[in-house]
Amino acid sequence: MNLIIFPVILYLFSAFFIALALKENEKLSGIACFSFSILSFISVILIGKYLILNERIIYFVGGWKIPIGITLMVDNLSFIFLFILNLLLPLICWFSFSYMEKYLKAGYFYILFSLISAGLNGILISMDFFNIYVFLEISSIASYILVSFGLRIEELEASLKYTILGVIGSAFILIGIGLILGKTGTLNIADFTFIAKNIEKKQLWFILGLFIAGFGFKCALFPFHFWLPDAHSLAPSPVSAILSGIFIKITGFYLLIRIVSNIFIMFPESKVILIGLGLVSMIYGAIMAIEQNDIKRIYAYSSISQMGYCVLSLGIGGYWGYLGAILHFIFHSLSKSLLFLNSGIIEYKYGTTKIEKLNNLVEEMPYISTTGFIGMLSLAGVPPFGCFWSKIIIIIGAIMSHYYGISFICVIVSIITLGYFLKLQRNIFYSKSEGVKTGENNEFNLNLLMPVIILSIFIFLSGIIFSPYYKIWIDKAVKNIESFSYESLMEK
């Protein structure tokens, strides 16, 4: 099944090819990057087609068997992440055509875009600790650079902060990998879980702690969140859409799922830590979002809050908890990317995202206000849209596991979310107060508009036609989280 490795190879080749031949020509490099991302999307669809009949794909790089070589694996859980990632990337690339026109040497942007995509795809298909670390580093370094792409002072500083914290997080992860190597002599996840069965628990808790801290840095859980608001709000908007929409979920959340529920199965206590961290960052993000005065900063704090929901739901566990975590990941990815792209259009047209400078945009940008409205309603959890279903499932999960207080807090935070989004919506789109910005630049830029509209249609449909089409996949993924253990791969 050679197809599994195609997304990574395609994106790597795209990066090298653009760097070699096209980087001086912005348009051509954009088109090349877009076509490679479409190819990658097609290969992911084909992987999905294969997964209908088979439970998982296992691939031995170089033909070396499990403990020796690097083994790749895609199962239904990683397929859902792969699908969302490769669905968003072409759209964001398309959006960048017009948005990146303003930047000097935008050819480099597409190189870095390809690199970050290659890194994220590589994390998702891998089944080897060190391989995951290497691809994590590729995508992280590319994201540090992308944050500072505009070379404004604030961007440089945000990038510096992000780099420092990211390096500390990576160091934790690397030390954890080293301890795994020292304890068991292997780097393969399946081999490790097979051996770890016979190791005493007290030998392993430190590794788990290091991993939770490291991936906590990556997905901005509460004590490790300092970098996120600056980095996500100051980066160019397509970059914010990648970072907030998908990057923190794959580098943080996906790997946390794997670590907590598939690899370190012997530690049910870790779930309690996740509930605590998730709860605190959920509340913290929501409260901080209220008092911000910049659109993108509100979205960034909202990201912290919504990641809190995901991690909380992962910690609650059980069928409903895992279902809620996966669904919330999907809907939050789509909606948050949509919102960041939306704010990117506003930034493109008006040059600012400060709330007090923007007024009554609904007359000048009817499309944008509609799509933004859809995204915000979805994130705030208003009934027909996606996040309503995921939030209600998380609440059900909390009640089923007898965490009544937590379900109550979830409802409260959801109301706060609705509050600050409605306030934002009213302030920038509908308020007719003084200082209305009357540029007549209501131009109809398809490159900017189409990705946003496509995304909002996705969100609308995925919310309304809830179950029948993709419920099978999500059920399979939930089953993967609940009962899959890597050691079953070792018996063959």
Partner: protein, 177 residues
């Protein structure tokens, strides 16, 4: 080569002292020099630990790191580094004490045993590299063949960093600024 534990500890403590000087020194130049000392000691220690590949790499990478950092500070303001945040220092002292206590109490559980690695994968490599791959250097065989996929990633990391340097040293970020 038989080395007693004392020599290991001696070299390691030298490195520790060097890194303390590197962090604490007031002048950037002197802290860079002591950083270089630590790197060179590290390279020697790698050689003693039976890792000549890494020793070469560490030696040259150390030199290049120093050149990079020196080229970043030469001609610029390198006055004494006095400032350090009080809150973070306090936090750090807590972290330091807590982690030291943890390491000392649980060291048997946290760390693997020194000098007796688990070789159930390592032995396979040592056997397969000369026997099947006909490569004398097991480390190169791992880097480029058994785990070659990692090395693609590694080459990509350097590539990314160089692209990053090019991006950061552009004339300006946006066209209209």
């Amino acid at each position: 080569m038989v080395i007693n534990l004392g020599f290991h500890i001696f070299l390691l403590s030298l490195m520790c002292i060097g890194s303390i000087i590197a962090v604490a020194s007031r002048k950037l130049i002197s802290s860079l020099v002591s950083l270089g000392t630590v790197g060179m000691l590290l390279s020697i220690y790698f050689l003693i630990l039976g890792a000549p590949d890494i020793a070469i790499t560490q030696l040259v990478v150390e030199i290049l790191t120093l050149i990079i950092l020196l080229s970043a500070i030469t001609g610029r303001d390198v006055t004494a580094d006095m400032s350090s945040s009080k809150l973070y220092r306090f936090l750090f002292i807590i972290i330091f004490i807590v982690s030291l206590i943890t390491f000392f109490t649980y060291s048997n559980f946290i760390f693997p045993e020194f000098g007796k690695p688990d070789m159930h994968v390592g032995k396979e490599y040592l056997y397969l590299a000369p026997e099947k791959l006909k490569a004398a250097n097991a480390v190169t065989a791992i880097v480029l063949d058994f785990r070659g996929y990692d090395t693609i990633g590694e080459a990509t990391v350097i590539f990314t960093a160089i692209i990053g340097v090019m991006v950061l040293l552009r004339k300006k970020g946006k066209k209209d600024e």
